[in-house]
């Protein structure tokens, strides 16, 4: 009986993480790691390994609905995945060499800046015309999607393609170093830097984090850190939650989603800076 209750609780946490992850374009690791370590007293390695597989589950579960509704920009995704996958590789390789305190503080500051930027632009429903740069025009990166909340088709262009790719490299490196999907860096890079609409950014980030996390998950599997009895129920929950969350997101106004995203950015920023300073 005890086993059943534990399974159901972990499963429920998975559903919640899947819904939040799908809506925000994140993997849901922000919920899963603290829940498993603080709530169930599991070792950090088990929690992070389970969380990495959950990131793949969120990405895969949510991507189906986003792809069908054309919210995902696959061309932008593949262009940027070059940056994230090479970054994830670098991150995994240099993980042992880099001073983690400095990294935590740097990422914290970067996140805080993103949160501030999102706060500043929170009331902008339509952004000033984005003029595509040379690479974006050549590779036809612009796109369009039908926004169910607005009830109309949104056409958009993509700009600052190279700065975007460089940021993705570092976001991939963060993912490799910290065992996360790093959607929290990917969404602002597309939304704030490359001028993509928030929903397209979130859906594209969701699509990409699966590939970023897959390279990390291989390592955890090889080490035997993925415990089937923990990861099984939580991943199943995340899969269902992500499918549900993707449906919800398409009907929500982008301004509401941003409002939801900002406190998460701010919280993660403070926590990362705190971790960095604490270990000084």
């Amino acid at each position: 009986m005890y086993v059943v209750i534990t399974f159901i609780t972990i499963f429920a946490i998975g559903i919640a993480a899947g819904v939040v992850g799908a809506i925000l374009g994140l993997g849901g690791g922000i919920i899963i790691v603290p829940a498993l370590t603080l709530g169930f007293g599991m070792p950090m390695r088990t929690a992070v390994a389970a969380s990495t597989v959950c990131i793949i589950a969120t990405s895969t579960g949510a991507a189906v609905a986003f792809l069908r509704d054309r919210l995902t920009n696959t061309r932008v995704a593949i262009w940027l995945e070059m940056g994230t996958s090479l970054g994830a590789l670098t991150g995994a390789l240099v993980a042992a060499l880099v001073n983690q305190r400095v990294l935590f503080i740097l990422f914290g500051l970067l996140l805080a800046y993103s949160a501030y930027n999102m706060f500043r632009t929170r009331k902008e429903h339509t952004r000033p015309d984005v003029v595509p740069d040379a690479i974006s025009s050549k590779l036809r990166l612009g796109g369009s999607y039908y926004d169910k909340a607005l009830g109309r088709r949104v056409e958009y262009q993509v700009t600052r393609t190279l700065p975007g790719l460089i940021i993705m490299y570092f976001s991939g490196a963060a993912a490799g170093l910290l065992g996360i999907g790093a959607g929290i860096f990917k969404v602002p890079a597309m939304d704030q830097v490359m001028g993509m609409p928030f929903k397209a950014s979130s859906a594209t980030s969701n699509f990409m984090i699966g590939v970023t996390a897959a390279s990390g998950a291989v390592v955890y599997f090889a080490r035997g850190d993925v415990k089937p009895l923990v990861a099984g129920p939580v991943v199943l929950g995340v899969l269902l939650g992500a499918i549900l969350g993707a449906r919800l997101m398409m009907r929500m106004p982008a301004s509401k989603i941003r409002l939801f995203f900002m406190p998460i950015l701010a919280y993660t920023a403070i926590e990362m800076i705190y971790k960095g300073v604490k270990w000084w």
């Binding site: 069908r68 099984g232 991943v235 199943l236």
Partner: protein, 103 residues
Amino acid sequence: MVAIEPEEKAEHPIELVLARLLRLGSLVAAALLAVGIALMVLGQTAFAPRLITVGLLVLLGTPVLRVIAAAVIFVKERDWHFALFSLVVLCAIAAGIYFGKGM
């Protein structure tokens, strides 16, 4: 199911192909996980964890297959830029697996 604008179906088939692949991967993984967890609850403690692990591995393989599928589509469409980009991604994942095993 969600309504799709019909005029776009033929224009961007890649999204639909990838959506189908990801749905298949998540359904197979979910089924394996659900059966595994059910067997675990019923007391099949020897066999169930293995079934769950297979489910997790199917899930892990799905995004990698997705990149391979995209590469194949781009090559078929003679979209060489994006075929090359997909290849770079695949090489990075392969290198990750190679180095990951040694860690």
